[in-house]
């Protein structure tokens, strides 16, 4: 920071005012970014919120919101969305926690090499990865061919265009979002604490569950919230791997706009999705600070 030196002496006040003015001027450097974001994100979102209060004829109504609770089609969408999100988050925890733990225990160099395996898919286009799963999981795809060749199954399994395919694809895409914050949290755990536990007679399993695991919980929680929030708004993967059988929240927003041109309904869905997302992220921020969570990528 510029104000590292506190001015003293006769012109101290003038210098302090100068530094204040300077900092204010520096703050203006954020304005192009802020302006762009305000125009492209805040204005339209506010506008959509306004639209959500009206029906297609232009009369003021709460129908766009009440419909979400009443209409069976909407209720089913929410049920599917939460079902998928819970399953995907749970699978991510089950396979992500051991991976992050292993990475945190490896020597730094080996861990960095292994990290490439986590980061590369993170950098690869989401669409490309979804497409790859589509090819691998299809009826005559690689997975079915291998399973039949190995004699595990006789008839090809239905792995795609359904719930299973959606979950496989989404877990693959969201796993890094769980592993990265969790790994960072695990790396920062003081290993002397584990040694101390062992020294005081704890078994390895006991030391893990009573010392290491509780200390890793903040990182786990951050990862879980991130994955869950991203699941709620997912579009591309369920649209391609769900084969029309998995209707998620974001897909209903898309069809409300493109199929029915019902902006009120689409906006209301979007506003509620935004509120749920922001509340969850706000809770995460209160507990751990968002900046740390997002600095992974």
């Amino acid at each position: 920071m510029t104000a590292a030196v506190t001015p003293v002496g006769t012109n101290a006040e003038a210098l302090a005012a100068d530094s204040r003015r300077e900092r204010r001027r520096a703050f203006f450097l954020t304005s192009p970014a802020a302006l762009l974001i305000a125009v492209v994100v805040f204005v339209p979102v506010g506008w959509l919120f306004w639209l959500s209060l009206f029906d297609p004829e232009g009369a003021l109504t709460a129908e766009n919101y009440t419909r979400m609770l009443g209409s069976p089609a909407y209720v089913k969408t929410f049920k599917t969305t939460f079902e998928v999100s819970f399953v995907v988050t749970a699978v991510c925890v089950l396979i992500g926690y051991p991976l992050a733990y292993l990475l945190s225990q490896l020597p730094a160099r080996a861990a960095n090499v292994c990290m490439v395996f986590v980061l590369l898919p993170f950098w690869t286009s989401l669409l490309v990865r979804t497409y790859a799963w589509l090819v691998l999981l299809q009826r005559k795809g690689l997975i079915n061919t291998w399973l039949i060749d190995l004699g595990v199954i006789e008839q090809p399994l239905r792995l795609v265009h359904n719930f299973t395919g959606t979950v496989i694809g989404m877990v693959h895409i969201l796993l890094p979002f769980l592993v990265l914050p969790l790994y960072a949290a695990m790396r920062s755990i003081d290993r002397d604490l584990i040694r101390a536990a062992a020294n005081l007679g704890s078994s390895p399993v006991g030391a893990f569950w009573r010392v290491f695991f509780p200390l890793s919980l903040p990182g786990l929680f951050a990862g879980v919230v991130l994955v869950f929030v991203l699941c709620l708004g997912f579009y591309v993967t369920p649209a391609l791997l769900g084969g029309g059988r998995v209707q998620m929240w974001a897909m209903r927003i898309e069809s409300s706009v493109n199929l029915y041109a019902n902006w009120g309904a689409a906006s209301a869905l979007g506003v509620v999705l935004l509120i749920v997302t922001l509340v969850l992220l706000w809770a995460l921020n209160k507990l751990f600070g968002l900046e740390r969570v997002f600095s992974g990528r």
Partner: protein, 271 residues
């Protein structure tokens, strides 16, 4: 002495075998689709066999031979380069501004600048579509670039901010006390020292735009449809093997970018 043990609680490597195997399996799961799609794209069959029985370049010929795919690729590259060129200076300026100005306003401003990461992308997409309909920006490259810039700003901001954290701002003070203007001090003293973070941020911006699907699906179209939009639409109908060839090219771009960023990260922290 502790070398022969895998953990601080003296579990041996053998006792950890299950963990190593499990970890390896998960890493295979993570890499598998991207790695397998590459040889598949050279398969001669429409079913994209692995390993391919007959090798051929027919899907690449399809890709580069089709005017539509070529145009879409050109649109995407153009949008990605422009997004990078706008988002990098804007994001860097914002990061610098936040770093230099006082703490109180900065925290609020930072939250605002990170908003594009937090607001569900589908909402940004329909919002931009609605706004652009009024401004006549739908189906234009300008519209895509503006929206992608907004999505890329947080990535540039976070990357450059972390670079500034390890930089000693007093150096800039010295330059200015020797008569350099603020801008000159930034350009000749600060910028060269944070250049690796800035370049990494620029790469993030490029990839963000190149790979973005949902906003492009709404605001791009016609002759200005991006590559991802065309791919998504093609995939909804059927599994077109040409997309394996396109995917391989996109994976290649990602790998190169990731390697560059890793390498820049090493260059940033010598030793």
């Amino acid at each position: 002495m502790s070398k022969s043990f895998a953990s601080d609680t003296q579990i041996t490597h053998l006792g950890r075998l299950w963990l190593y195997l499990f970890g390896a399996l998960v890493m295979v799961f993570l890499m598998f689709p991207s790695v397998v799609v590459i040889p598949m794209s050279f398969s001669d069959s429409t079913y994209l066999e692995f390993p391919p029985r007959e090798w051929s370049l027919r899907w690449y010929e399809n890709y580069f031979g089709s005017i539509e795919w070529r145009e879409a690729t050109y649109v995407s590259l153009q949008a990605a380069v422009l997004t990078m060129l706008v988002a990098t200076p804007v994001g860097t300026a914002a990061a610098y501004g936040l770093h230099v100005s006082g703490r109180r306003m900065a925290a609020t401003m930072q939250t605002m600048l990170l908003m594009p990461l937090m607001v569900p992308i589908i909402l940004i997409a329909i919002g931009a579509f609605y706004l652009y309909a009024r401004l006549g920006l739908n189906y234009t490259i300008t519209g895509v670039v503006v929206a992608h810039t907004v999505l890329a700003i947080p990535f540039v901001l976070v990357t450059v901010s972390s670079g500034l954290k390890t930089y000693d701002m007093n150096q800039e003070m010295v330059a200015r006390s020797l008569g350099a203007s603020r801008l000159r001090a930034f350009l000749t003293v600060t910028l060269p020292q944070i250049r690796f973070s800035v370049v990494a941020g620029a790469l993030f911006a490029f990839i963000t735009s190149l790979d973005e699907v949902i906003v492009a699906m709404f605001v791009s179209g016609g002759e200005n449809a991006t590559l991802t939009r065309r791919m998504f639409n093609a995939l909804r109908d059927q599994i077109d093997p040409t997309i394996a060839a396109i995917s391989t090219c996109l994976i290649l771009v990602s790998v190169i970018s990731l390697l560059l960023v890793q390498w820049l990260g090493k260059a940033r922290t010598p030793g």
